[in-house]
Structure formats: structure tokens, C-alpha cells
């Protein structure tokens, strides 16, 4: 089977899935609403910073229901996915979701940024923040996809959010200690190897932190993690069989 028609079918099916997902629509509508609210209530600067910080999570919401449910419920045992077509479809979904997230993110960022440019409240210095936000988004899609091999659709996203909440609570506890992790985190300087490792583990759970200017040098870490998670996904998909429980 030629690759191009297969890619087209993957693209079409993945977009149809998103179009029919109430959760995706709710997330897509709530996010700009929240940014607009911040702009009105606080300031343009707060809205732009929050936009960049939260943008990766929109990618995470796209990644629910990537693999597990479709395999377990036998939906891929279809003539459409013969000759390993189901593997191309499952792997190709990553690319479609990343592309969709990027188009959505850019579609919101460009008008927001242009308004800032015209009113001298944003500049070229915001672009590295956008790039790192997109990178963190890519990581979320890869991670959500990998988790969906083990968990039901939706649970893969939920488990990550619960982990983030737990890490966040831990971070708040460290705020009571002088020189604690939160102090190091806000300064962006990690004095020793252990503190650096601690931050890298933190960023693996909440990659959004690399959007902050002082931490953008850690973008490479997130890029590396994305590549690693994608590789693990590829290995899993390569050995995947369509067995119903």
C-alpha cells in the first residue's frame, strides 16, 4: 500500500476524532476564554505569559484516547488497517496531533502577539517562549500517547495532571524552607548536580516550566525526552498485536 494514501487516511481519521470530541472542543474554547479573562482582569502581559505557560496543556488534551481503547475494543481490526496499516495509523497520529496543536496555538498566538506589537507591549523576545511552549506541547503528545498504551482514554491525561498536582503541592511545601527548591527554581540557578537533577525530574512532569525565560536553556532536555518517549512508542507500536481481552 503506498504511504501517501495511508498518511491521508490517518490525517483524516485523527481530525474527525478531534472534531467529534466534546472534551477537545471544551478545552479549545475554554483556553482563549481564560486568556481573555486574564487580559481584562489583569493585564496584557499576564495574559501573554499565561498563554505561553498553559499552551502545552492544550496538546495534552489532544492526546487522550490515542492507542489503548482502539486496540482493546477491536476497532483497528478493520480492512482499513491491513498489512500493518494500524501501526502506521497509531504512529502517524502523533504527527497529526502535534500539527493540530501547533496550528491551534499559532492561531491564537499570532493575533495576541500582533496586538501587543502594535501597542508596544510585546516583541520578538516573546518568540523563544512560543517555541519552548510548542516544544513542551510536543512532549505532552508523545507522553500522552505512551501512557495510552497502558491506560484507558482520558485516564492517560488524568494521571499526568494528578502527578503534576502532587509535584506542585510538594513545591509549595518547599516554599517554607529558605534555599528550598522553590527558591532555586525562581532564581533559575541550580548550585549542585543534585539540585539540577531534581529540576530535570520536575521538568519531565511539568515541562511548561521551560517557557520561563531563565529556564529556556533546558528546552534541549525536553526535546531529548520527547525523542526518547517517541522512540519507546515506536518500539511498542512495532511489536503491537491486535488482541481483544
Amino acid at each position: 500500500m503506498p504511504d501517501r494514501p495511508r498518511r491521508q487516511v490517518t490525517f483524516r481519521l485523527t481530525l474527525l476524532r478531534l472534531r467529534r470530541s466534546p472534551a477537545a472542543w471544551a478545552a479549545a474554547a475554554a483556553f482563549p476564554g481564560f486568556i481573555l479573562f486574564l487580559w481584562i482582569k489583569e493585564s496584557y502581559g499576564t495574559a501573554l505569559r499565561s498563554f505561553l505557560f498553559l499552551l502545552p496543556h492544550t496538546f495534552l488534551f489532544l492526546s487522550q484516547d490515542m492507542v489503548g481503547d482502539e486496540v482493546r475494543e477491536g476497532r483497528l481490526e478493520n480492512v482499513l488497517f491491513l498489512e500493518n496499516g494500524f501501526k502506521c495509523y497509531l504512529f502517524g497520529k502523533n504527527a497529526v496531533l502535534v500539527l493540530t496543536g501547533a496550528v491551534y496555538g499559532l492561531g491564537l498566538f499570532i493575533p495576541l502577539w500582533v496586538i501587543g506589537l502594535v501597542t508596544h507591549r510585546s516583541g520578538w523576545g516573546d518568540l523563544p517562549g512560543l517555541i519552548t511552549a510548542l516544544l513542551a506541547g510536543v512532549y505532552y503528545v508523545m507522553l500522552g500517547g505512551l501512557l495510552s498504551h497502558y491506560l484507558k482514554g482520558g485516564s492517560n491525561v488524568l494521571v499526568l495532571i494528578v502527578a503534576q498536582a502532587a509535584v506542585f503541592i510538594g513545591l509549595l511545601f518547599s516554599a517554607t524552607q529558605k534555599g528550598g527548591f522553590l527558591d532555586l527554581f525562581t532564581s533559575g540557578h541550580f548550585p549542585d548536580f543534585a539540585a539540577k537533577l531534581e529540576f530535570l525530574a520536575f521538568a519531565a512532569v511539568i515541562p511548561n516550566v521551560i517557557v520561563a525565560g531563565r529556564l529556556q536553556s533546558y528546552a534541549l532536555w525536553i526535546a531529548g525526552l520527547s525523542a526518547l518517549v517517541l522512540f519507546i512508542q515506536w518500539m511498542k507500536i512495532r511489536r503491537l498485536e491486535l488482541k481483544r481481552p
Binding site: 503506498p2 487516511v9 481519521l13 474527525l16 476497532r75 480492512v79 491491513l82 498485536e241 491486535l242 488482541k243
Partner: protein, 234 residues
């Protein structure tokens, strides 16, 4: 058209140490209907799934010599969010069928399968079980398969549709396709089969053409005598 559409050699598969298919050898000829018979758990569906690439084989070879393969599973499952027409569109796109021919082809096959074309505007999982099966047939037949594999072809179909399905298999074989059907309904397959393959305990124990001489008066007797005889393999 003649020749083989599929050659399977030494196909084996085990699940958690239990052999599901052992060293299966068979081939399917174009223009013939092959019945694939076996008791529950004999390894029919596992064999089919390995042939189609849905399961990895532990060993053996599958030589697919068909240009287009059709497949109807026993219990077709579909994405919960997709409409029939959208899935068919994907199928036709995948096989490069020009846009101009798509509507006409769908209408022709809907009529042959007695499937209401209005259903195509609805999500597939909302169809009745019988219509889901017919839709699965439609999906495959749209692309004119020269190897058509059906797992339990008559499940969920009403008597009229069973008759239509039998006629359809004959038409496909007359058109040069190899038809491979795994079924428990021996009385139905008796009316149309050309070749029979019997599998037992994961091993192919009998391969026979209808015209081959033998003491069995019908397919049911052949099947029962095969599965009750001491295990020996082929």
C-alpha cells in the same frame, strides 16, 4: 483468472506458552471458495489474524499474492465517532478510487447488500448488529478484493441476507477472487464451497477439494469424522 492468492507455510503462534496455531500450511486458489472449519478454539481466527498482519507470527511465512484484500471480522467493531459514509470515503481514498466513481460504487453495493444508504449518514456503532456486519461487507467489497477473507460470514445476518451472502461469494469466485471463510455453519457453506481446510488444536489436519473422491456423503460428515479421528496432522 487462476493461480494462488495466498500461500501459508509453517505458520505458528503461541500465547503464554500455549500453542494456538502449529505449523499451518495451506494455499488459497483464485476463483475458488475455501471453507475453513474447526471447533471452538481450534485456531481459525488466530490464523486469519496472522495472515492479515493483526497478530505477529512466531514462525512461518505468509505469501500474499493478491492485489487487494477484503476482510470481514466475526464481530466488526468501529470507531464510536465515525459515520458510515466517512469510513467508506477513507477506504476508497486508501485504494485510490477516483472521487467521481465513489458515489456510484457505494450505491451499487448498498443495493446488492440490501443496506439502506441512508444509514451511511449515521455513526456506524448505532447500526443494528446485522447492519454492522453488512457494512463491514460493504467496506471490503467496494475495493473489489481478489482475496476475500470472512470470519463467520453468516453471524447476525437474517435468512434473506444469508442467501444474498452465499450468492455474493459465488459471484466473487466467478470473478476470479479467492474466497476464504471461517465458519461453524457447515450447512450453509456446504452449498457453495470448492475446497475445505480443517484445523484442530491449532494444526491443519485436512485439506481437500470438493471433487476429490472420498467416502463422506457431505461436508458435515467429513468434518465430524476428521475432528473425531485420532490426532495425526497433515
Amino acid at each position: 483468472m487462476s493461480g494462488t492468492a495466498l500461500v501459508v507455510h509453517g505458520l505458528s503462534k503461541s500465547f503464554a506458552g500455549v500453542m494456538a496455531v502449529k505449523d499451518a500450511d495451506f494455499s488459497l486458489e483464485r476463483g475458488r471458495i475455501t471453507a475453513f472449519l474447526g471447533e471452538n478454539g481450534a485456531g481459525k481466527t488466530t490464523t486469519i489474524k496472522m495472515v492479515l498482519g493483526f497478530l505477529r507470527r512466531d514462525s512461518g511465512e505468509v505469501k500474499l499474492r493478491a492485489r487487494t484484500v477484503g476482510y470481514v471480522p466475526e464481530q466488526p467493531a468501529f470507531f464510536s465517532w465515525i459515520k458510515g459514509g466517512e469510513l467508506l470515503d477513507c477506504m476508497l481514498r486508501l485504494h485510490g478510487v477516483p472521487l467521481a466513481h465513489r458515489r456510484e460504487r457505494i450505491a451499487t453495493w448498498c443495493e446488492k447488500l440490501s443496506l439502506d444508504p441512508g444509514l451511511l449518514e449515521r455513526r456506524v456503532p448505532s447500526y443494528s448488529q446485522g447492519n454492522r456486519k453488512k457494512f463491514s461487507y460493504l467496506q471490503s467489497l467496494l475495493v473489489s478484493p481478489d482475496l476475500f477473507i470472512v470470519d463467520e460470514p453468516f453471524t447476525a445476518l437474517d435468512p434473506t441476507s444469508i442467501m444474498a451472502a452465499r450468492r455474493l461469494f459465488c459471484e466473487l469466485a466467478e470473478g476470479g477472487a479467492a474466497v476464504f471463510m471461517s465458519t461453524h455453519l457447515i450447512s450453509e457453506v456446504e452449498k457453495i464451497y470448492d475446497d475445505v481446510i480443517i484445523i484442530r488444536g491449532g494444526a491443519v489436519i485436512l485439506r481437500k477439494r470438493r471433487e476429490d473422491p472420498g467416502p463422506w456423503p457431505d461436508l458435515e460428515t467429513l468434518f465430524l469424522s476428521s475432528v473425531r479421528s485420532p490426532f495425526r496432522g497433515v
